[in-house]
Amino acid sequence: MSTRSGFQYVFGTQSFHFSNLAELMAKASPLRSGDVLANVAAHTEQERAIAQMCLADVPLKRFLQEALIPYEQDEVTRLILDEHDAQAFQRISHLTVGDFRNFLLGDTCTTEVLQSLKMAITPEMAAAVSKIMRNQDLILVAKKCSVVTQFRNTIGLPGHFSTRLQPNHPTDDLTGIAASIMDGLLYANGDAVIGINPATDNVQQCSTLLHMLDDVIQHYQIPTQSCVLTHVTNTLECIHAGIPVDLVFQSIGGTEATNDSFGINLALLAEAQDAALSQQRGTVGQNLMYFETGQGSSLSANAHHGLDQQTCEARAYGVARTFNPLLVNTVVGFIGPEYLYDGKQITRAGLEDHFCGKLLGLPMGCDVCYTNHAEADQNDMDNLLTLLANAGCNFIMGIPGSDDIMLNYQTTSFHDALYIRKLLGLKPAPEFEQWLQSMDIMDKQFSISDAIPAPFAKNLKALQNH
């Protein structure tokens, strides 16, 4: 039973009370260490199960009436409510959260229906329904949400699976970075983006790296895009200085205060998007924003307003979708065990993030990853990768041998990408696939060549003779 003063649920002789929607959402969340750390998690398994039953009875309309963070206090709340499509919402306005799950799983809820509803669904509605869905539900519904984006190639088509080539180096050494790029390209990786996390984060360094990446893409005529994952203000400076910028990167969060801690706001993101669009560097499309998110970022900035971390994460997708991004990447296991303790929690969070992002209309990828102080290993990553690929995930990271020697964490490798493509018959982005074939890197049966393609061999030889 829901009242203005909260939610009451009677189970046998016991009565449970949740004082507001935020508390109910938090207590209905599957267990994770970050919610315990924030002291918002259910205290017992039974309380969690009751909260989920109670949440299932909440009408979707209530999320439009009761903002989890007040409209006046938070520009993300304002964005979410101002952009809400009331017209499309009529189709689902009579549903409770529990009905909504049934609706999503139903056979009448097709890809087209989901696409027409995306702006009718607020991040909080997506978060709420995900909390009462099992992993198989998250996979099945996400698979129905097709989100395709384009810049120099086409990412997210059904039957395709892309990778970000991540050639990081602890001192940004150009030869070291180029070595990893070559390794990745010859392992058929890099169609989502070739994206470097710079070790030294300043404008000059980023310019150097952007020039280097642009040179490589032009020299080999690779249908892909480059990115240096620096702060949006650095990228803006690079654009103004005439440096070749394909994608604008930024980490974002689901509350104004989180974004403030990242040194950004919505106006700044819009300014950067406009500046990059004016460069007209895309050939087949103009999706050029690349966002990274991850559960726990709001709590870690003490900017969570008492919300659970998964709800904050879904609100970050509300921010992302305003900017028609090419790529949205949930960096699920990077933040550490105080937010996601073990392989089970990382897996659940990865599936939730992918589902919520897709439901809200985003081109979701996932950094399937873990740190060495988390209770996780390569087998957990194999599991999550296999689940996400079945759910229709747009892209993952590709890194030499799973070891990021700059950021000191483990993510998916070039080999992992080949594994999942082979297992499920998934192809790279079509333009990139064609390039791989024209370069004799990969044949039509997905077999990788044993030899080095001539143009690469020439430069490798020149390096050896140097």
Partner: protein, 277 residues
């Protein structure tokens, strides 16, 4: 010799330019057996670094051994005494599992050792606080050689508080230690989050006038101190710079820029070998 069924990559020569795991070869399209097992071994080492408890008396013994071997320090009875009188403390995290999930508890001192700390309080310039952090291996390998490099050139006018060793601690626990000892600065040496290729990295954090309202923005950090990472002389040089500048300006953190950095001017060309003509 090439193992059967492994397809090697003809660009192995590139391995000399990066520690990244490139040109691993493949079995079908998967990792060859030896590479798969090598990775597991290195992950096991990183896991052990996190979970093996730091043996405090072994660490202090290691420091004393290093001191006695160092010509400039072996005669310093004050330093021998300083090590002998180390105060061992615990955070409020009761075990490793709790430590990993509750960083807040790792920042708070357990009441057990506070009385001894209070008895040792004085008017000190600098407190050195050894904290296990996320890698006991980092502490066992790096604390002693770092101290031997750093101590001889420490300004003799700087008065040192009693040495402290904190178990299950985070960086911020040094604030409470220094405040209780009444020290103006605290230098925390702590085991960093282990990487797969670097399970033994030590970090160094300097904080001026630490107190209950200190945040991470008030600290200066020197990271990746280990064999194969930042060398002990370089780390000691940076530590001296930070300590002296912090004393002079009476602050630490973002307002204290680290200008001891050697600027790398090698990145002048934006061309890599991939596009060299």
């Amino acid at each position: 010799m090439k193992p059967p069924f492994v397809i090697q990559n003809p660009w192995e020569t590139l391995k000399q330019f990066t520690d990244a795991r490139i040109a691993l070869g493949r079995a079908g399209s998967s990792l060859p057996t030896h590479e798969m097992l090598k990775f597991q071994m290195e992950h096991a080492m990183a896991r052990d670094a996190v979970h093996l408890p730091l043996n405090g008396s072994e660490l202090l013994g290691e420091i004393k051994t290093h001191l006695s071997r160092a010509s400039e320090l072996s005669a310093r009875a004050d330093l021998q005494k300083w090590i002998d009188q180390t105060i061992t403390l615990n955070s409020q995290a009761e075990n490793r599992d709790q430590y990993l999930q509750r960083p807040d508890l790792g920042r708070c001192l357990h009441s057990a050792g506070i009385d001894e700390l209070k008895r040792s309080a004085g008017d000190f310039d600098l407190a050195i606080c050894l904290v296990d952090g996320l890698s006991s291996i980092a502490m066992m390998r790096n604390v002693a050689p770092f101290l031997v490099e750093w101590l001889p050139s420490l300004d003799p006018s700087i008065s040192l508080a009693p040495l402290t060793l904190v178990m299950q601690g985070r960086v911020a626990i040094g604030d409470a230690v220094a405040q209780t000892l009444n020290a103006k600065q605290v230098l925390v040496l702590i085991g960093e989050r282990p990487g797969l290729s670097s399970p033994d990295s030590m970090g160094l954090y300097l904080t001026y006038a630490p107190n209950a309202t200190t945040t991470d923005a008030d600290r200066n950090c020197v990271s990746n101190i280990r064999l194969g990472g930042l060398s002990y002389p370089d780390a000691a040089h940076k530590a001296h710079y930070l300590i002296n500048e912090s004393r002079r300006l009476q602050l630490s953190g973002v307002q204290l820029k680290e200008r001891s950095e050697v600027v790398d001017n090698t990145l002048t060309s934006a061309k890599s070998f991939l596009t060299a003509r």
